[in-house]
Amino acid sequence: MIITINGQKKNINGAPDIGSILQAEGYAGKLVAVARNGEFVPRGEYANTNLNDGDQLEIVAPMQGG
């Protein structure tokens, strides 16, 4: 299936949960927050949230701001 992570399309095998995707994409241990299809997904729900074809993930971190 195809999902979009931070605007980039990715071909993914199976229907992984958000925790597995973060691990696979190199975000393990990093301070990030996630939104799926425009909705915030709390950290505690990563393992219970499986992705579907066409899902859009935003993975964000602290950045400079005014």
Binding site: N6, Y27, A33, E39, A61, P62, M63, Q64, G65, G66
Partner: protein
């Protein structure tokens, strides 16, 4: 204390709220924070890459132990702003949010309608909302009715450096809402702009570009800290009312050349050519 400001359960050590973007380098950002001693520093959320650029940035800020105020900069809808605020709350472990819902790219003007939708939603979710708003009094009423006890009207468009575009409306907000924490947010260019806001009784000033893009950002950070403190002290000290005519500051009593016989006639006011004997 002139500098301290209570917001919620926190005592902020300064009334300058400093943004963290656009500095020439992370080291200059660090020096500017040291020079400005801000009460709050603002941060944002952006897409993280696998290299972890956000982790390094956060590593610099964490060491200061200054409260952070995450923003929703760049959000053009209430929905985006609410989701961004929820992500920020988890990352920064604070329910404070500088709520920006932007109407257009050109002026980066606050969208009052989107702001109200997002504020209502976020307050229900337990956030303390710092709304970036126009200086409109009706909007201020609506936000306060929803539960905001802090308002952040713009001085001028973000990054414009124009100062306070609408001083009468800003003054009116201060007069109308004496118990609300008021912060001028955006548009500041020179320290005198910040002083003017503080002299009006504003509780704090939020700025970023004016320091980050200055010729010498570290010196400018220090200049802003002083200007904000000066404005605050002036406000607390009671600024005299302006008047149309002069009022001598040096006492007239015991001035030299004064004579009882003159009966308060001042020589300089006498007709041209008059001698003192003529005035007797």
């Amino acid at each position: 204390m002139t500098r301290a400001l209570n917001i919620g359960d926190k005592i902020l050590a300064g009334r300058l709220f400093l943004g963290t973007a656009q500095y020439p380098s992370p080291d200059i950002l660090r020096q500017c924070i040291e020079a400005a001693q801000p009460g709050l520093i603002t941060v944002s959320l952006r897409r993280e890459n696998a290299a972890g650029k956000g982790q390094k940035f956060w590593g610099i800020l964490k060491g200061f132990n200054i409260p952070v105020l995450p923003n929703t900069a760049g959000c053009f809808t209430a929905k985006e702003a609410v989701t961004t605020a929820e992500m920020a709350r988890e990352i920064f472990e604070t329910n404070w949010i500088k709520l920006e819902v932007i109407a257009d790219d050109y002026a980066l003007a606050p969208d009052p309608v989107g702001l109200l939708y997002a504020t209502e939603n976020l307050i229900k979710k337990g956030f303390k909302v710092f709304p970036y708003m126009t200086e409109d009094e009706t909007l201020a009423h609506e936000l306060i009715d929803m539960g905001c006890d802090i308002l952040m009207p713009w001085g001028a468009p973000i990054g414009s450096g124009r100062g306070l575009n609408n001083t009468s409306a800003l003054k009116l907000l201060r007069e109308k809402f004496p118990d609300i924490t008021l912060v001028v947010d955006a548009g500041i260019g020179a320290p005198s702009h910040a002083t003017a806001a503080m002299e009006m009784g504003y509780d704090a000033v939020l700025l970023n570009t004016a320091v980050a893009k200055a010729g010498d950002p570290v010196k400018m950070a220090a200049a802003f800290a002083k200007s904000i403190e000066a404005g605050r002290e002036a406000y607390l000290s009671g600024i005299i009312a302006a008047q149309e005519t002069a009022s001598a500051s040096t006492p007239m009593i015991d001035r030299p050349f004064w004579h009882q016989d003159y009966n308060d006639v001042i020589l300089s006011e006498a007709p041209k050519g008059a001698k003192s004997k003529d005035l007797k």
